[in-house]
């Protein structure tokens, strides 16, 4: 049986999936601008290799005869996984997922929330993709943008390992860039304390959120979050609100927990 291939590009992530009778061969690499919104899906029979053995893909698009070159992995940068199965299927599923750790969003410019005010912010967090056979086992999971790791806590002894994401933390949906590699979370910040709250970092517990595709805005969105700073100024209440009405859940949360809880304020933002 000749090798059939599916070639997917989502932003800067290039994923090639080839199948033979009993084996999936999954290659991926990252190249180009992570903010690139391009999404390409092609099928093909062959992958050409250059003199150095680098695989470029001369693939035929689903539409017909168009031939395109989908990214060449620099030698050594490509990662490959062979998944040996009972029998490969014609259908393969790419499942979008939220990050597997909390994400610390840092507004590009410091943000101040005066006493008694409420703000609605849109924060983007990186997406992961899982490759699996429908109803079958998962073969691979990878981030669409390789996120930078960070530590969130009062000291190097106490805290949590998270991913770091720069965000513009805009208050209007029109200002949010249309990125395919990120999920959008609407965060409501309520400051009930008597003094202003400066926001430099905000930890979003994304493994606890659900993910859905919002056709109206053409983006992946998550459950909304409400973070309330209480009158004492030291504790914060977090509540996971539901998804916007009419959306169906694409991916359930990685961690199933309570939908509201209290934290020391320092455990959520700084």
């Amino acid at each position: 049986m000749p090798e059939e291939g599916l070639y997917v590009r989502i932003g800067a992530c290039f994923l090639q999936m080839r199948r033979s009778a009993h084996e999936w061969s999954l290659h991926h690499h990252y190249a180009g601008d992570p903010l690139d919104p391009t999404v390409d899906i092609h099928t093909g029979q062959d992958a050409a290799a250059d003199d150095l053995g680098r695989t470029s893909i001369v693939a035929t698009s689903a539409a017909g005869a168009e031939t395109s070159l989908l990214g060449i992995a620099p030698p050594g940068d490509e990662q490959m996984l062979r998944a040996v199965v009972n029998a490969t299927s014609e259908v393969i599923e790419l499942v979008p997922r939220l990050a597997n750790r909390s994400v610390v969003a840092r507004p590009q410019r410091p943000l101040r929330l005066p006493a008694g005010q409420t703000a609605h912010l849109y924060v983007g967090t990186p997406l992961w993709v899982a490759v699996r056979v429908p109803g079958g086992p998962e073969m691979l999971e990878l981030p669409l943008i390789v996120p930078t790791e960070t530590w969130f806590g009062p000291s190097p002894v106490e805290g949590e390992l998270c991913y770091s994401a720069r965000t513009r933390a805009v208050s209007s949906l029109d200002e949010v860039p249309g990125l395919t590699t990120r999920a959008l979370t609407r965060v409501t910040l309520i400051n009930r304390a008597s003094d202003a709250m400066d926001l430099e970092r905000l930890r979003l517990p994304v493994p606890r959120l659900r993910l859905a595709w919002d056709d109206a805005i053409g983006r992946f969105v998550t459950d909304e979050l409400e973070l309330r700073r209480e009158e004492d100024g030291k504790t914060a209440n977090v509540e996971i609100k539901s998804l916007p009405a009419g959306l169906t859940v694409t991916t359930p949360p990685r961690e199933v927990t309570r939908r509201s809880w209290s934290h020391a304020l320092s455990a959520l933002w700084a």
Binding site: V104, P147, E149
Partner: protein
């Protein structure tokens, strides 16, 4: 002397086959139940306590049962335990002197387990030995070094000397010491190093990296560049950064430290 040997011979020959068989059954059954009890203890507490405590609990269940079965087996073959216990008092004094080191190690072992400064599975550094703790036993701790050697470290040594636990905290600081020539601009080097780590997602965004001049040496400036990363990937990140920094220094033409001498050709007056 001959009489004692004769008596012993008589005693051994006097043991009937049936007694020997019963004794062997006692030992085997005891061994079976001891292993069973150890397994049950391991399963009961396995999820709740750490590996070291599980191992200790297993032993606490295993050895008393084994000891009881051996005692029963000895009684079965006619060995009088009361004689042995009476002699034990005399032996204790002699043993006390002979086993000072062992006793010290034994007590140190209890302190080590109680103090929990490291547990089985941690990576520790002690007296020039770095490796993974395989077990903390009554007399010594067993460590597997990175080059796969088995090192036995007496508990007394562990209590007396400085022990560094490399696995205690989830993140570690990686200190890189770099030397550059006096003609190098430190702000340019700082920007270059920050650019190198910006392309390495495994380097933590926070805590922030550190950059400063450690010392002005005769040949150049000794710099320290410190970044944080997860402890599991510490060595990998160090190797990657060292290679990348060297590559970038070469590309950007950063001057290496070199001794400079000024020759004064003016004739003495």
């Amino acid at each position: 002397m001959r009489e004692i040997v004769d008596q012993l011979k008589e005693w051994v020959l006097g043991i009937g086959w049936s007694s020997m068989l019963r004794a062997a059954i006692f030992v085997l059954v005891g061994l079976f139940f001891a292993r069973l009890a150890a397994g049950v203890m391991g399963r009961m507490f396995g999820g709740r306590v750490d590996k070291q405590q599980t191992m200790l609990l297993r032993r606490l269940a295993f050895y008393p049962i084994l000891l009881l079965s051996i005692t029963a087996a000895l009684r079965e073959v006619g060995f009088d335990m009361s004689v042995f216990l009476g002699a034990a008092g005399l032996f204790t004094v002699a043993l006390g002197f002979a086993s000072q080191t062992s006793a010290s190690n034994l007590i140190s072992g209890l302190f080590l387990i109680g103090e929990r400064s490291f547990v089985v599975g941690d990576f520790i550094e002690v007296g020039g030995v770095t490796g993974e703790v395989l077990s903390i036993d009554l007399l010594s701790a067993k460590v597997r070094t990175f080059d796969n050697l088995y090192v036995r470290i007496p508990n007394e040594t562990l209590v007396k000397s400085n022990v560094t636990n490399l696995s205690r905290f989830p993140i570690r600081r990686l200190d890189l010491v770099l030397r550059v020539g006096y003609r190098s601009d430190l702000s340019t080097i700082r920007a270059l190093l920050l650019d190198v780590i910006a392309n390495e997602p495994r380097v933590l965004d926070e805590p922030k990296p550190l950059f400063f001049a450690q010392e002005f040496e005769p040949t150049g400036v000794r710099l320290q560049f410190s970044v944080w990363c997860r402890r599991e990937i510490f060595f990998d990140v160090r190797a990657t950064l060292q290679a990348e920094i060297r590559k970038r220094f070469n590309e950007e033409g950063v001057e290496s430290p070199a001794a400079r001498w000024t020759m004064d050709g003016t004739p003495p007056v």
